[in-house]
Amino acid sequence: MITINNLQKKFGEKIAVNIEQYTINQGDMLGLVGNNGAGKTTLFRLILDLLKADEGQITINDINVCDSEEWKKFTGAFIDDGFLIDYLTPEEYFYFIGKMYGMNKAEVDARLAPFERFMNGEVLDQKKFIRNFSAGNKQKIGIISAMLHNPQLLILDEPFNFLDPSSQSVIKHILKKYSEDHNATVIISSHNLNHTVDICPRIALLEHGIIIRDIQNENNSAEKELEDYFNISVEEEIAEEEVKENINAVKE
């Protein structure tokens, strides 16, 4: 489904993404994890052709994302508020998005039905513009709008952010079921290791723009590996700090 070749993106001197070769297959549910600044959102923007790569290319179903817009027909994404038209009500926004994919209002209403529990009675019929919703409800609107046209490729950046625990649980279930029912490729990024391990059979660990581990996660087998990795990172940093402090103390 997605092939990444020699992809490189720099911001000034800093290398944000540097991936030699990576393939995501149709039906994969991939979790992208990494510390802040690891390059997760940048990678998503590159996949969605919202940023220009300095080198390399990304293809979705053999279509180079820079050369054609055909892949947009079967791709849905939500990264941040920059995807939301915030002077519309949620209903208007959903109908607008639906129309972009050739759906009428009745079809949109039908597509919204499975999200009823996720919306928890706080999104529809509120007579409010999106800009006046809470961050959590904006997140819900963004996720639903990305899934409305049943895309074959779904990309969500930090989908659990701002959501209450119940909604996090519901969206985990929805995403897993969606991937299975539609054989869709789902890519999510998250700082929440538990959620990622719970729903993603494959997890890519990104650090400094490089995919340093591609982990097959069977029966939550990745949990320990990830926990060890992130704990070690913290311990390493603490050790480094201590060394620095000792050196300074000696100098003084």
Partner: protein
């Protein structure tokens, strides 16, 4: 935008200097007797542009600075704001043309300094009223009764003392009367003190204010359903214009200006001269496009990622915009009907400018879709952050200037009626080929998309 305001004021300053010249009174005496009107206009135009210190204080509240000191600083900043100098674009050329010959350059300097002080006083008077109105809407009665009272005092008596008082004040400014200046400074100090007391008391009420976010009537514009995806984008454009402060204020202001100019042409003889009349007619038709299309795509910068992740959405958006603003040309056309009825402006002339604007002028302005890459914040009114870029101002100026020059040249060469036909032919050729050049704009936008998206993201607030 700022350049436009400055341009208007310079234009009116020089026009008034010549218009009031040669009467029983000198031009500056006429203007001085109506200084209150200037202050009233200044008061009104502050509403979309200016925030009160109580609205601005929030980010500073956690700093280790006393609340009263913060209010003092914000009040001082407001008094020294460059916005208070904008009227000098009117008064400097006016006073150079009318005062220099009697009082020399010192008279001009003293007069302009005094006018600035009056505007500073007006600034604090506005802040006082705006703060009170923000607290309780009924406080709007205060400025209404003050200005209404002054207007009644001026217009009802056969010989109003207010005119002569105003003229004496202006005379005092020109001659550099110490008493006059001291009086104004005292008035500024008093109103500044009242503001300080009021704002110190209201600052927490303002910070804790919550806007009612429920929408009472949600417009559907169902008639657009039949136009498919383009209709959907037209609906989006209408909602953009009518639901966001920055667009709503621009729309109201432009309708007001067109209405004023149209009325001046229709019912007064002030602009009976051919040159001025043409200027205002061109202005009325071009201003809609300039105001909304010179910043084309900058509003969409707020949600550009969402648009760009859908196929050809930008192309359809551009087509929808063209349709909406082409239909919107009917607004100035309708507002110009009184001028057509009173035969001040020929029907043919209005038709030709409407067609020319929709064709050629929009073609020029749509090119900005390729280059605009600064997001305009939709939730603020008009502030300094939303002023146009240099290129926007250049294109906007050209969109206004080129038609004016073209009209003068064509009229001189082939006469008014044939010139109108030429304008119609030029306009129609661009209208009929609009699909082609919009497609071209879209392709060029897509070539620059990375640069533009980066700019939109960086300038989003």
């Amino acid at each position: 935008m700022a350049i436009f305001w400055a341009g208007y004021l310079i234009f009116f300053g020089t026009t008034f200097a010549f218009a009031f010249d040669g009467g029983a009174q000198e031009a500056y005496q006429v203007l001085n007797s109506g200084l209150i009107f200037v202050l009233a206009i200044d008061f009104i135009i502050r509403f979309p542009f200016q925030k009160t210190p109580t609205q601005e204080v929030k980010p500073y509240m956690l700093l280790p600075i006393k609340r009263n000191r913060l209010i003092d600083l914000l009040l001082l900043r407001s008094g020294l704001d460059a916005f208070n100098l904008i009227w000098l674009f009117f008064f400097v050329p006016f006073s150079i043309l009318t005062i220099t010959k009697f009082y020399g350059i010192m008279g001009v300097f003293s007069y302009c300094l005094g006018i600035w002080l009056l505007i500073v006083f007006n600034n604090y008077w506005f802040l006082l009223c705006r703060t009170l109105i923000g607290e309780r809407i009924w406080w709007i009665i205060l400025p209404l009764s003050v200005y209404g009272g002054i207007a009644a005092g001026m217009l009802i008596p056969a010989k109003s003392p207010i005119f002569s008082y105003s003229a004496t004040l202006g005379e005092g400014l020109i001659t550099g009367s110490i008493l006059t200046f001291l009086g104004i400074l005292l008035a500024i100090a008093c109103i500044g003190f009242i503001n300080r007391r009021l704002m110190s008391n209201l600052v927490y009420a303002e910070i804790n204010k919550v806007e009612d976010t429920k929408v009472k009537n949600i417009s559907e514009y169902k008639f657009l359903d039949r136009y498919g995806e383009i209709g959907e984008y037209m609906r989006l454009e209408l909602k953009l214009l009518l639901r966001n402060k920055v667009c709503k204020y621009s729309l109201r202001m432009v309708i007001l200006l067109v209405l004023v100019f149209s009325s001046l042409i229709s019912f007064t003889s002030v602009y009976d001269g051919e040159g001025m009349k043409n200027f205002l007619v061109v202005y009325n038709f071009v201003i809609f496009g300039i105001l909304f299309l010179s910043s084309i795509m900058s509003y969409e910068g707020n949600y550009i990622d969402g648009l760009m992740s859908r196929k050809e959405s930008i192309y359809n958006l551009l087509r929808a915009k063209y349709t909406v603003y082409s239909i919107a040309i009917l607004i100035p056309f309708i507002l110009m009907i009184p001028a057509m009825i009173t035969k001040k402006v020929a029907v043919m002339s209005c038709v030709s400018w409407a067609v020319f604007s929709v064709g050629f002028v929009y073609f020029c302005l749509f090119q900005m879709a390729v280059y605009n890459n600064r997001t305009i914040n939709l939730s603020v009114r008009m502030t300094g952050r939303n002023v146009g870029t240099g290129l926007q101002n250049l294109i906007a100026g050209a969109s206004f200037g080129v038609p004016l020059i073209l009209n003068v040249v064509l009229k001189a060469l082939i006469g008014q009626e044939t010139a109108s036909w030429v304008l119609i032919i030029i306009g129609l050729s661009f209208i009929l080929t609009s699909n082609l050049w919009i497609k071209n704009v879209y392709h060029r936008f897509m070539k620059r998309r990375y640069k533009n998206m980066e700019g939109f993201r960086d300038s989003r607030q």
